[in-house]
């Protein structure tokens, strides 16, 4: 039971990551690998500031701001200097590896201070005692506080994201990914929209990294590896859960559900004996299958169709 609660809590933290990847991959149709650097960047900034005695809210917001800056840099390299979008992301991601080490001063920084989650854990312990039982099983109350906090943050982030995408600015960003020429004809700089959109995307990714570090009580320079693929897996899984939708709210909620479901599936797979070292390989294969699969099936169907007709 405790494992399930921890899995859900981490899933909710990765839901915030999925929101960020939704922004770059679905809104801009651009897989932004900056995420692999901005996720540990958020963690690094938060861990460093917490160590230096900052309060958790400031430390988390500073992590987000760092992510926003990283995204804006990727966007600027891409639109201002016409560097291929993927390469722009690779450059920033690589640079961030050193930046993160500089910020942390070591490749791994433990977090011993109070975090965003501490008040929630304390409140849960105060009201339920150290242990509580759910469906007849004993659970540490602190974990429930953790789950409530991550649900609250992921919920707020999701609602803000949906509302944002329905603002003039958010809709202009969606139109940029959809039809940039049209938006320019309507008098909006699509360059500016791209920079802003990647800033928003990476701010969310960094927030997720910051929350993940606070939940695990450490930040690590390596923790960003494969984050983009994890995010893509969540977004794609979410899309297949929801199906083709007309409402932007449902599409965003799909990405969030995808992140949670993906985390649950991973937990189950490890329980069933999957070596945790193989996790990234399996994740990459899942994403590849999800992207290539539908087209491949259609192709095979067509071939069979032509054979039948000849």
């Amino acid at each position: 039971m405790s494992l399930l609660i921890a899995t859900l809590a981490i899933g909710l933290v990765f839901a915030v990551l999925a929101l960020g990847i939704y922004m770059s991959f679905r809104v801009y149709q651009m897989p932004d690998i900056t995420a692999d650097g901005s996720f540990p960047l958020g963690a690094a900034i938060t861990a460093r500031l917490l160590r230096d005695g900052a309060d958790p809210v400031t430390a988390t917001l500073a992590g987000m701001a760092g992510g926003a800056l990283a995204g804006a840099i990727t966007g600027t390299i891409h639109v201002r200097f016409k560097v291929n979008a993927l390469l722009s992301g690779i450059l920033v991601m690589t640079a961030l590896y050193s930046v993160n080490l500089r910020i942390m001063g070591a490749s791994n920084v433990p977090i011993n201070a109070r975090t965003l989650f501490t008040p929630f854990e304390e409140a849960a312990r105060a009201s339920f005692g150290p242990e509580t039982s759910i469906l007849g099983r004993s659970v540490p109350s602190g974990d429930l506080g953790l789950l409530a906090a991550s649900a609250l943050i992921a919920g707020i982030a999701t609602i803000l994201m949906v509302l944002f995408l329905k603002t003039e600015l958010g809709a202009a960003m969606r139109a940029t990914g959809d039809n940039a020429r049209m938006l320019r004809a309507l008098g909006t700089s699509t360059d500016r929209m791209t920079v802003l959109g990647l800033a928003v995307s990476n701010a969310l990714v960094a927030l997720s990294g910051s929350l993940f570090a606070q939940m695990q009580a450490f930040a690590d320079a390596q923790m960003g590896i494969g984050v983009i693929v994890l995010g893509l897996a969540s977004v794609i899984l979410g899309q297949s859960l929801i199906g083709p939708v007309r409402s932007i709210a449902l599409a965003v909620i799909g990405a969030v559900m995808g992140a949670i479901l993906f985390r649950l599936l991973v937990a189950i797979a490890i329980r069933l004996g999957l070596d945790a070292n193989d996790l990234k390989l399996v994740t990459a294969l899942v994403v590849l299958a999800a992207i290539v699969g539908p087209g491949l099936i259609k192709e095979m169907g067509r071939k069979r169709g032509t054979h039948a007709s000849t």
């Binding site: 003039e168 809709a171 202009a172 004809a185």
Partner: protein, 270 residues
């Protein structure tokens, strides 16, 4: 008033692919006038529109709207003055956004995109009336993603979006060429109505000699990056489709010669 002074543009200068797209074009288009532009492929007629809309920087010359020089303005800055409809019927609308969202983006043409909800204070009633005018039952589809609509329907809405904020200039770039005949007819009749009710200086590029003969109050034929023919007033009204077709085959014949040979022999052909 839309004014072009000796506008020049060469693409890929100094290479084998060098194209002198605009070779010194000077035009003064009166406010509220409706000019139809024709020309053979590569004559510069679409480049002319792209120059006005700011898609590239000019090599020489200047462009002004109501005596404001916009030559150095980037494309997006000119947009509050210029409404545009493209040849590709899908180019003027964002498919995953709803009809209402597309119209709302167009109603804030040239303004800053803020954090205000896009559809707050949307003039849905007004939009429904406009959509009803098209006559395709679009008034009931405000909340559908525009990607679900046909090319003709989307081009009609693009036309509404282009004129929604009363721009000074309206550019129509072969906007019916990619539509089926029935949709093209609908879009043309909508064009006639919208142009008549708007005060925009309209420039319409077309391949259709029938449209060129029947629409507009001025006709310009482009050839080799220059204005080849410019008629207006009663003379334009008298022009027939047959005469335009003859003019066209003349321009095609000229195309087969190079510039100098053309100048030498063309006098004898006329």
């Amino acid at each position: 008033m839309l004014q072009l002074n000796s506008v020049r543009k060469t693409f890929n200068p100094g290479t084998a692919n060098e194209v002198r797209a605009l070779a010194g074009v000077t035009l003064a288009l009166a406010p509220g006038s409706f000019t139809v532009v024709i020309g053979t492929n590569g004559s510069g007629k679409s480049t002319l529109q792209a120059a006005i809309s700011g898609a590239f920087e000019l090599d020489a010359g200047s462009i002004s709207v109501d005596n404001t020089d916009i030559t150095r303005w980037p494309e997006h800055r000119r947009a509050h003055l210029i409404g545009r409809v493209f040849q590709d019927p899908f180019a003027g609308t964002a498919p995953s956004l709803t009809v209402a969202e597309n119209l709302a983006l167009a109603s804030k043409r040239g303004k800053w995109r803020t954090l205000a909800p896009l559809l707050r204070g949307a003039r849905r009633g007004e939009w429904k009336n406009l959509l009803a005018q098209i006559g395709l039952g679009l008034e009931d589809r405000l909340d559908d993603p525009i990607g679900l609509l046909s090319g003709g329907q989307r081009q009609s809405i693009t036309l509404l979006m282009a004129t929604l904020t009363g721009p000074k200039v309206l550019l129509l770039d072969e906007h019916t060429a990619a539509l089926d005949p029935r949709s093209a007819e609908l879009v043309i009749s909508l064009t006639t109505r919208l142009v008549a009710s708007s005060s925009a200086t309209t420039v319409m590029v077309t391949h259709s000699m029938q449209q060129a003969a029947t629409l507009g109050d001025r006709l310009i034929a482009m050839h080799r990056g220059q204005v080849y023919l410019d008629v207006s007033g009663a003379e334009k009204q008298r022009l027939t489709e047959t005469e335009l077709l003859a003019l066209f085959s003349q321009m095609r014949r000229d195309d087969r010669f190079d510039d100098d040979a053309c100048r030498l022999v063309s006098a004898q052909y006329r």
